[in-house]
Symmetry: D2
Subunit: 98 residues, 4 copies
């Protein structure tokens, strides 16, 4: 299953913190039953490609719903079809190489 990394940056708010949107994003992932991992600079989510694009759209809307005027959303999708891939195996391959 592909993995999505997503980060959203609200621009033009007078606060330098924006973790509250990421807290809300977790609710979206949990409601949809998607495995996710919060990292210091982004959130990573595992799922079918279409589901990942769909939650990315939903997460991008969060700051607008709170009245923010500009949002910059970065997304990376890593998809591999020759072998199984998931978030745990990706970390394991780096930490404990065969």
């Amino acid at each position: 299953m592909p993995v999505l990394e997503i980060s959203i940056i609200p621009v033009g708010t007078d606060q330098a913190s924006f973790s509250s949107y990421l807290t809300q994003a977790q609710d979206i992932f949990e409601r949809r039953g998607l495995s996710y991992q919060v990292t210091p600079m982004s959130t990573m989510v595992e799922g079918k490609f279409d589901d990942l694009m769909s939650v990315a759209s939903e997460v991008h809307q969060l700051p607008f719903q709170a009245g923010v005027n500009r949002v910059i959303t970065n997304m990376t999708i890593d998809e591999r079809r020759d072998k199984e891939m998931n978030m745990s195996s990706m970390v394991e391959a780096v930490k404990n190489p065969k």
Copy 2:
């Protein structure tokens, strides 16, 4: 209208060039009537949010259709709701500030 920046990187092919997928991506943007701009490291496209996510999905599939096993796609969406924004005005604001 929001602007999407997209780049796709096929991994595990024995060629260090992959511009052919970007050439195909142009056909997708033109067929859909979306304004786009090819830059040295990405393609930028202007359109409604849902249309941008939809073409991003289509572009991500291109290397798989050619037999590539792994694709890493980077996307950034910049959306602003307090004033008009388009690709030309974004470049103009940098080059000829008021």
Copy 3:
């Protein structure tokens, strides 16, 4: 020569525009004699690897000098050693494939 793509996002300012930092960044590139290209969502610069890292550091500081408290800087460096690469040839390969 490698190519750098850089974008800087000031966070926690009450303005949704931040093109003025990119205008200043152009002065840095010109002073150093580096070829660059302003795109709607970033600036791309061509140069030796160490020079690119050095200008990236300088550009990252610009919003702090103006009093901004938080800056998120995205950089991508694409470097190829098997053949000549420059910003023009990268666009040309997409638009007019052989």
Copy 4:
């Protein structure tokens, strides 16, 4: 202290896996005494700005030393000067908001 997110993608190798470079990158971070965290899609490192740019340069070279012809390196630096920031507090703010 600022946080760096870095990912390196070797292009034009015939293998779809490239975790070995990230394993080597860990050695670089440890030798320099920098805190780091391996995530499914990147590595995040905490340190002084100049140290982060310096290790990023070193990590970018790893695939070339192994004979790869093209490397695309993505880096994001998040720096905040109005309050303490580190990798743990960034995750904590999302998971357990006040």
